[in-house]
C-alpha cells in the first residue's frame, strides 16, 4: 500500500502498486504512521519525497468503500470519516520537521491532489498526469481544510477558480502557469523523481534545523493551521 525508505538524507514515501492509490481509512492510517516514523527519525538535513507507482499519484478517497455501506447515510458517514481522518495527514505534513517534495508520477485528484499540495514543493510530469479537483463534477462539497489549503498555496483568484470551480483536468504546463505546481519539465515518472531527489539533496545540504524549518513553514499558513488545529507557535517576541 505505502512504504517508507531511507536514501541517505532522503525519506522516500511511496504509494505502491498499480492501482489508483485511493485513500481508505487503512491507507490513511498507514500514511500517518509512516509520516510519524519519518518525523521521529528526522535530523538536520532530512527531506521527505512522496511519490507513487503507475498511472496515479492518487485518485482521492475510496468512494467505492463508502458506497458499500449499504445506505445513503451509511455512505455519507464513511465519507465523513475519511475526510476527518485525512485531516491529521495534512497536519502531519505541515508539521513535519523537514522540507517536503511531492513527485507526481501520474494523476492527482481530489484528496490525492490535496496530499500533493500539502508538500512544500510539487513537481509533475509534462507528458502525462492531470490535476483534478473532481468535487464540483461528482457533487461533493469541499471540506473546509481543502479550501484553506488551496487558498494557502495558490495565489491568484483565476487559478483557484480553475482548480476548484471549473472541473478541469489540468495538465503539467498549465499547472505551472497557474502556479499550482513548481515545475512540470519531465517526460517520465523516473524523470520527476530524479529531479525531486536532486532538489532534495540540495536542500539536505543546508543542514537546517527541522524544528526551525517546521515553525517557519507553519507561520506561512496561519489560516490553515487554525483550521487544522496545528499549533503555529506564534512568537510574539523573538528569541534573538
Amino acid at each position: 500500500m505505502c512504504t517508507l525508505e531511507k536514501r541517505g538524507d532522503l525519506f522516500l514515501l511511496t504509494l505502491t502498486g498499480d492501482g489508483e492509490h485511493r485513500f481508505h481509512p487503512d491507507t490513511i492510517a498507514t500514511i500517518l504512521s509512516l509520516l510519524d516514523q519519518a518525523k521521529s527519525q528526522s535530523k538536520r538535513g532530512s527531506v521527505l519525497i512522496t511519490t507513487g507507482h503507475g498511472k496515479f499519484f492518487s485518485n482521492g478517497f475510496d468512494l467505492a468503500w463508502a458506497q458499500t455501506a449499504g445506505s445513503k447515510t451509511g455512505a455519507a458517514n464513511r465519507l465523513h470519516q475519511m475526510v476527518e481522518s485525512f485531516k491529521p495527514v495534512v497536519a502531519a505534513l505541515l508539521d513535519l520537521p523537514m522540507p517536503t517534495i511531492a513527485a507526481l508520477n501520474g494523476h492527482a485528484a481530489a484528496a490525492g491532489l490535496i496530499l500533493a499540495l500539502s508538500h512544500d514543493y510539487v513537481f509533475m510530469r509534462k507528458d502525462r498526469g492531470v490535476l483534478y479537483m473532481s468535487e464540483v463534477d461528482i457533487g461533493l462539497s469541499m471540506p473546509e481544510y481543502f479550501s484553506a489549503l488551496v487558498r494557502a498555496k495558490i495565489g491568484t483568484s483565476a487559478a483557484r477558480r480553475e482548480l476548484l470551480l471549473s472541473g478541469k483536468k489540468i495538465r503539467g504546463e498549465e499547472a505551472v502557469g497557474l502556479g499550482i505546481v513548481d515545475t512540470a519539465a519531465y517526460d517520465s515518472a523516473e524523470g520527476v523523481v530524479e529531479a525531486t531527489v536532486r532538489l532534495g539533496e540540495k536542500l539536505a545540504g543546508k543542514k537546517w534545523s527541522g524544528e526551525v524549518y517546521a515553525s517557519i513553514r507553519k507561520s506561512l499558513y496561519p489560516e490553515l493551521c487554525g483550521i487544522l488545529g496545528v499549533e503555529a507557535r506564534v512568537f510574539a517576541t523573538p528569541k534573538l
Binding site: P99, K206, I216, L220, F235, A236, P238, K239, L240
Partner: protein, 240 residues
C-alpha cells in the same frame, strides 16, 4: 546613525556610516525621531520619504550580539521596530526604500515596509536569514511578508529556502519594484519617482489613512489597531 536631508520637496533619510546599520535601540530611536521630525514639518502633506543607506548594507537586521549580552534588549528592539513600522504605515506621505546594500531579516522587513522598493542590481540582496541562523520569526514579520509578497511560491522561497534575493530576482518575485545599475542610480531613480509622485498627488493625510487600511493586518500585529479605525496607542505586541 541616521541623517535627514531635504531635496526639493523630498525627505531623504539615510542610515549613515560604513557599518551594518544593525537595528539596535539607539538607531531605532534615531530613525523614529527623524520620522517624527518629518511628520511635523509643514511641507509633509506634499512630500515623499526616501530611505536609503551608506555603504555595503541597507541593514543587516537586529543587533544580535547586543541581544546576546542582554536578552531583554531583544524585546526592546522588537518593540521599537514594531513602532517604527507602524509609523511608516501611518505616515501621511508615500515612502520609497532605495535599497543600496544588503537587507537581512529585520533589515529586510524595514525595506519592505515602504510603499516602493527600488534596488541596485549590481550587488546586494534581500535575505530573510532566520532559517539559516536559526532565529524564530516573529508573527508580525510574517504579516509583513504576507502583505508585501503576493505569490505563495515566492513567500515559500523567501522564508523556507532563506533565498538571497538579488534585485532582478526580486522584481520577478514581485518584492522589488524596479532595479538599477548601481547605488547612485538607485537613489537618483528614487528621487525621480518621488518628484513624479509629488507632482501627481494632492494631500498626504488621506494617503496615510488609506495605507493603514490596506496594511491593516500588519498594523494589528504591530500595535493592535482597533476596529474604530484609529491607530491604537498601546503596544499590545508584547503578549509575553
Amino acid at each position: 546613525m541616521c541623517s535627514l536631508e531635504k531635496h526639493g520637496r523630498l525627505f531623504i533619510l539615510k542610515l549613515t556610516g560604513d557599518g551594518e546599520h544593525r537595528l539596535n535601540p539607539t538607531l531605532l530611536d534615531s530613525i523614529r525621531s527623524t520620522i517624527n521630525k518629518i511628520r511635523s514639518d509643514q511641507s509633509s502633506s506634499q512630500s515623499v520619504l526616501i530611505t536609503t543607506s551608506d555603504g555595503k548594507f541597507f541593514s543587516n537586521g537586529y543587533d544580535l550580539a547586543l541581544a546576546e549580552t542582554n536578552p531583554s534588549l531583544s524585546v526592546l528592539m522588537d518593540a521599537k521596530l514594531r513602532s517604527l513600522v507602524a509609523d511608516l504605515i501611518s505616515i501621511p506621505m508615500p515612502t520609497i526604500a532605495a535599497v543600496t546594500g544588503h537587507a537581512s531579516a529585520a533589515g529586510c522587513i524595514l525595506a519592505m515596509s515602504h510603499d516602493y522598493v527600488l534596488m541596485r542590481r549590481d550587488r546586494g540582496f534581500l535575505y530573510m536569514s532566520e532559517l539559516d541562523i536559526e532565529l524564530k520569526v516573529p508573527a508580525w514579520f510574517m504579516a509583513v511578508i504576507r502583505a508585501k509578497i503576493g505569490s505563495p511560491a515566492a513567500r515559500r522561497d523567501v522564508m523556507l529556502t532563506a533565498a538571497k534575493v538579488t534585485a532582478e530576482k526580486g522584481v520577478e518575485m514581485g518584492i522589488v519594484d524596479s532595479a538599477y545599475g548601481n547605488a547612485a542610480e538607485t537613489v537618483e531613480a528614487a528621487v525621480r519617482l518621488g518628484e513624479e509622485i509629488v507632482m501627481r498627488r494632492g494631500g498626504g493625510h488621506v494617503y496615510g489613512k488609506m495605507r493603514e487600511t490596506l496594511l491593516r493586518e500588519v498594523l494589528v500585529h504591530t500595535i493592535g489597531f482597533d476596529e474604530t479605525g484609529s491607530s491604537g496607542v498601546q503596544n499590545t505586541g508584547s503578549k509575553l
